[in-house]
Subunit: 455 residues, 2 copies
Amino acid sequence: MENIKSFELSKEFLESLQEGIENQQNDYIIQSLEGVNVADIAALLDELNMEEAIYVLRLMPSDVSADILIELEEDSVVKVIREMEAFELAKLIDQMESDDAVDILNLVHNKDREDVISHLQDKEKSAHIVDLLRYDEDSAGGLMGKEFIKANQNWNVIQTIEEIRRQAEKVEKIYSIYVVDNKQHLLGRVSLKKIILASSDTKIADIYEPEVFSVPTQMDQEEVAEIMRKYDLESIPVVNSKNKLLGRITVDDILDVIREQSEEDIQAMTGFSSDVEESDSIFRISKARLPWLLIGVVGGLMGSQIIGYFEDGLSKYIALASFIPLIAATGGNVGIQSSSLVVQTLAAKSVFEESILNRFIKGLLVALVNGLMLGAFVFCTVFFIYGFEFRFGLTVGIALFCVVLLASFMGTVTPLVLDKYGINPAMASGPFITTANDLLGLAVYFGVATLLLNL
Amino acid sequence: MENIKSFELSKEFLESLQEGIENQQNDYIIQSLEGVNVADIAALLDELNMEEAIYVLRLMPSDVSADILIELEEDSVVKVIREMEAFELAKLIDQMESDDAVDILNLVHNKDREDVISHLQDKEKSAHIVDLLRYDEDSAGGLMGKEFIKANQNWNVIQTIEEIRRQAEKVEKIYSIYVVDNKQHLLGRVSLKKIILASSDTKIADIYEPEVFSVPTQMDQEEVAEIMRKYDLESIPVVNSKNKLLGRITVDDILDVIREQSEEDIQAMTGFSSDVEESDSIFRISKARLPWLLIGVVGGLMGSQIIGYFEDGLSKYIALASFIPLIAATGGNVGIQSSSLVVQTLAAKSVFEESILNRFIKGLLVALVNGLMLGAFVFCTVFFIYGFEFRFGLTVGIALFCVVLLASFMGTVTPLVLDKYGINPAMASGPFITTANDLLGLAVYFGVATLLLNL
């Protein structure tokens, strides 16, 4: 794959870099990082300890260091920020676009933040940053940048090109030029392609497209991501409630939002209490995993109480114990399937959401079909193949059927309730709910057994 | 949210549209869809039955219908294709960019495909399509389009603008202009911004950036997505093994790849055997869920055999039954946590993958920490609070400890093995592995009990 001009990082290179840092071979370090993409340098620094990383950041030109800082993992950024003086950090932030600057400043302690901002050289940018810091990090306002090209509808093509020239250094990627009226209201967009192909004296008013998607500052970032994905946009303007153009969001930030969201969902489903990676320390991974495992264990201990309550019946029908895993596992599987289907719908923000009632009816019907088939299958196996008595087979079959219905109901309700209260609905497929379902399943199983077997 | 110029679809609008179709009120239909984004029209048509959808597609201008067809869900596209004549489909495909055309043609039966291609008017595009159809759908080659702007390094800015003008209709979004030599080898890229700001007689050779990421045709689409995300690219050129420029991939396709991947992972984790949505029919949802549930049930029945084997011991220590759910659930939770951590690393294709050995050692250590704490906690609860005898408490605690170690080991190995054989490693967090873990957990539990309690 020699065609990818990506830098293949090796442990050897990392070690030679560490050696260079230790021996303060500045020329060697600079030379070996020459031409390496900042995202790759950041990946390298993520593997170093903080003194080493900061050593490299101080050594590189400040525009390069700024780009590296943006690409570092959040943990690393926090550590770097803690070590750096305010003026040093300000020097890097001066080189960033406003949205990246705000991402970094959001990681700086409140009391130090003003200190850093006061050291910024670029006063226009510092005003932008103060403005952007007001928005929620996870909203369109928190995601937008102030660097973009806007053109007044009364300008002609030449004037617009002049504006592009004036902003060329600040705006790295242009995508679309947004068209505004004298009061900065968003009117539409014009592509660079159109600007290139139009004659110099063409008025912008004559060539812009008035149909443009925009989002309000308060919109949730995941909704923004879904709009940009659905309508194939590489940038989207952000407006206030009076349609005044305030900023723009670019697709590279959206790719990160989508990836984060997908990781969060999977973490919610698998029961990590915080964002961990395989490369984190053993202590940290253990700590992130333990709380949910503990909930599962406490649930299991509560389950033992439920079963203990039926101990007399159990000693009469010892075989009842054999089918406990079957009941628990099926309940868990059905619950996860039902909830994930609802979560998927919630995430897609699909246009036609089924009404709550329809969802329940449908979920119930699916559960009926599956429950009947599984219950019948299990009854037949237990009765015909394992040779248990008829009533016993019926008990296991009916209990399984009930558990499928119940788990399906819980799996449908839980994500809807969580979503309503602003909690990530993917949690519904997580260990907490699975544990609750297990307990319910046990209660149902022994309840059915008590009724049918006269325990 | 009146600022979003998105079309809010309502059930009422859908119904009025259906009525319009039934009564063949063509003017009404055209008028009511006027100015609606194609992605929204597609979402509407996904809700209609096929005759209705095709009625609308035949009514709209063919460029609009082509865009709608691209945005439809795969199921709907397949149904539409089945109903349409080859020449009709060709008329729509004539209006598409080559990558979209190939996506549609990949859904056409092999034998009908040539028929459709033979009806294409645009002979250049038809050659492109035949070329693109050779690549695997999930590879960079399958994702790339043939519509992009390339400039010879010997051209000047004016010649390049002429090329843009010539291709303006075909290439909707330009992003970067790729620079090639006389043999079509990729040399670098130049942004539209640079073209606009350069004087007309500037040579491309003097302004292009030679550092450009490119990917080979055979690269997996998920790897392409990760490269574009990591390096913040909105388009990437695709080259053959001789670095000849063959096509380009744009970020809108990548957004779809990422979303698909995330849905696939969650489906693998939650045990759906095929791609379903909440809006699908009850039969279809049941069918997609049943196979994995059945595997879980068969696993549960096998579990009952394991427990049945220890029935004599169980009747001596009936309390053993009470802790079966605890053992099974903890094993399941640990297995899912371990595997999802590995899956996350595999997906990120992080630069420094830990060696297999390191992974095992680390996973083992984390499991040791968690296993010891959980085992001790359970022992204390069972012995001190529940008041069971010492040996019994020890049995449950030690069995839990062993299950945590074993499940962690399985959770680490399974995704690595699956990934090695080209199977989605997220399957490792799915029902099959969870079921296998449950069985192992039961065997360990009763094994430990046999040893410690002299069953």
